[in-house]
Amino acid sequence: MTRMVLSGNAAQAHAARLARVQVVAAYPITPQTTIVETLADFAAAGELAAQYIKVESEHSALQVVVSAAGLGARTYTATSSQGLLLMHELLHWASGMRAPIVMGVVNRAVAPPWNIAVDHTDTVAQRDTGWIQFYAESNQEVLDTVLEAYRLAEDPAVRLPAMVTEDAFYLSHTVEPVDVPSSEEADRFLPPRDARAILVPGTATRLGSFTGPDHYVEFRREVARAMERVPETFASVEEEYRRVTGRDHGGPLPLYRVEDADTVLVTMGTATTTARGVVDDLRAQGLKVGLAKLRLFRPFPVEAIRSLGAMVDRIGVMDRSFTFGAAGAAATETAAALYGSPHRPTLSGFLAGIGGRDVTPGEVTRMYRALLDDRASDVRWMDLEPTGGIVHG
């Protein structure tokens, strides 16, 4: 293990290097580009023995790794925002063809208007494509989760693609200390992919070709079953990761200071770090508040949310994206999970950090105060309140 000061994008690239990926498909987009640039440096320096394939679009990038994964290769690609949207068709192909791709996604706002800052709309909009989705809070978590995602995606019980996301700039371009496992540690955790491929050169095999009503639903049900096996499989993957590296990140819904809490905020991504400090401050004032980080968004951690709901009186959910015509995605998913539970706390949704607006300690404090005062519905669009921050540009 070496401690290095790395950006989130460098952490993605180091994880792909440590996973000994065999095929990388590369197409640039801000703020992802430095991931594939760093991988190009690794390949050029002989530190990564991968086929590095430059393509003409994100659609092609994903097609390349879908095909390579079908032949048994361990693959990696990365994208962001508009590039992910262009991949949408192939996202379905990847999961339906059971390609255990791991993809880094830098969460960036969707145009228009054009914006390169953080927003989760790009990945939230892909929640129905059959991909496992992790949201990371720190560059350490980015690196560790990419390695874990390979074990999870390639597990015979799962065999689905996974995306590991990081907030634009707040992680992608933020440098901070990261513990980088040695190759020996990474190899011990992540052996080479099982070479039994679906497609074998020289043997005529069909994958994803025409299937009528007689069998189509069975294929879909298999994907659904694989998704259902993710929580249990991930628990053993993370246990193994801790055994090898001494670190884990607390499963699908890590909790912070929820013991005897009556009010809990659910966050995704980097807002979680800032919220931890706010929880400490409010606890010091005697308020019984806690925090839950939605680390795994697909499959949605229904059981973990229900367990949390049984412990507290109020849950607030902060979404960094907006779903037109409905509320925030994490808020509606949380509501759906709790509806089937006998213990249903009060639930409120907040929209904050949209299009890169800062989620400050003050904003998080206002969310907790609104929850505690049972007036959360008054402050749903956090960003539209005056903040008095500096003017950029």
């Binding site: 000061v5 801000t30 390169i116 907030d167 700039f169 707040y170 371009h173 933020t174 440098v175 901070e176 200390p177 980097t270 807002a271 770090t273 800032t274 931890r276 400090g277 401050d281 800062d358 989620v359 400050t360 300690p361 404090t365 008095g388 921050g389 500096i390 003017v391 950029h392 540009g393």
Partner: protein, 295 residues
């Protein structure tokens, strides 16, 4: 509720795309880490354009850093281009007792700052040019500025800075180390009792207030992009033939006309690309450094 006041030092860099502000912030974080500190650095890109204002942030602490937000109350503000003092509210939110460090040949006592802020200057441009870093027109001043920052604040050691240069700057290691040393030696302070001019009211760089209603478009000229400009076009009308070429070639509607048909540059909008000056047949348009242009 203010976690930043205990041991954390928050530093905000203001520069222009291409000057190295982002790298300066990263190098500082790397050097602080080599000093055994926890550190964090990240940039904010308003627009991805060379010459446009860039902000970068660095936090240094003895403990793990638990803030992932922009820095709006910095203890230290570092300005890599003195032209930004005229266009960008660089000292916005700076803490009382904080430090403003500017790359300038000018007397630090002349630097505008709120009361209670210490002021320092370093001629990093001269140092960068002397060591052949960047070009004469676009010197890369970041390592010289970091040397001055180390001397002025002690937030990071000079040895750690030099080690960070060796490990993370891709080229010109000896020159950059020398720039760190020269910057360290050349920092100048304004006397504590010297009165500071008030910060100038900057050209607004932000959007106008959001118009109520179902608005999907904003007139381009409502975007006040003057802060992107490092060179200002000055029209010498005595030689102008009123051919309108400048207007035709301006890529972004920054040129209008006066009552007699002479071109008038919209200075709150012009980004200073210089295409008008290049295309003008009788060469009546001169590009002048912002700091020297008539107000």
């Amino acid at each position: 509720m203010d976690r930043t006041e205990r041991t954390m030092i928050e530093i905000r860099f203001h520069g222009r795309g291409g000057q190295g502000a982002v790298v300066a912030s990263e190098l500082l974080a790397q050097a602080a880490f080599l000093d055994g500190k926890e550190s964090q650095s990240f940039p904010f890109f308003g627009v991805e354009r060379r010459g446009a204002p860039v902000t970068a942030f660095a936090r240094i602490d003895d403990r793990p850093i638990r803030l992932r937000t922009s820095i709006d109350a910095p203890g230290v503000v570092v300005v890599l281009d003195p032209g930004l003092l005229r266009t960008t509210p660089v000292t916005e939110g700076i803490r009382s007792g904080g430090l403003l460090l500017v790359n300038t040949a000018a007397d630090p006592a002349s630097l505008p700052a709120p009361a209670g802020v210490r002021r320092a200057a370093v001629d990093a441009t001269r140092i960068a040019v002397a060591h052949g870093l960047g070009s004469v027109t676009t010197p890369i001043v970041n390592t010289a500025v970091l040397g001055a920052l180390a001397a002025a604040t002690g937030v990071v050691g000079r040895t750690a800075l030099e080690a960070a240069v060796d490990r993370f700057v891709p080229a010109f290691h000896a020159e950059n180390r020398a720039a760190v040393d020269d910057g360290f030696a050349a920092v100048r302070f304004a006397p504590a009792d010297a009165p500071a001019p008030a910060p100038v009211v900057p050209v607004p760089a932000a959007l106008p207030p959001w118009p109520e209603g179902p608005v999907a478009s904003i007139p381009s000229r409502a975007l006040r992009t003057a802060a992107w400009r490092t060179l200002t076009p000055v029209v010498h009308t005595e030689r102008c033939t009123r051919c309108n070429f400048c207007w035709k070639f301006c890529p972004d509607d920054a040129i209008g006309f006066d009552a007699e048909g002479y071109p008038v540059i919209r200075l709150d909008y012009c980004k200073g690309c210089g295409i008008c000056a290049t295309e003008c047949p009788p060469k009546t348009i001169e590009m002048v450094a912002v700091a020297e242009a008539p107000a």
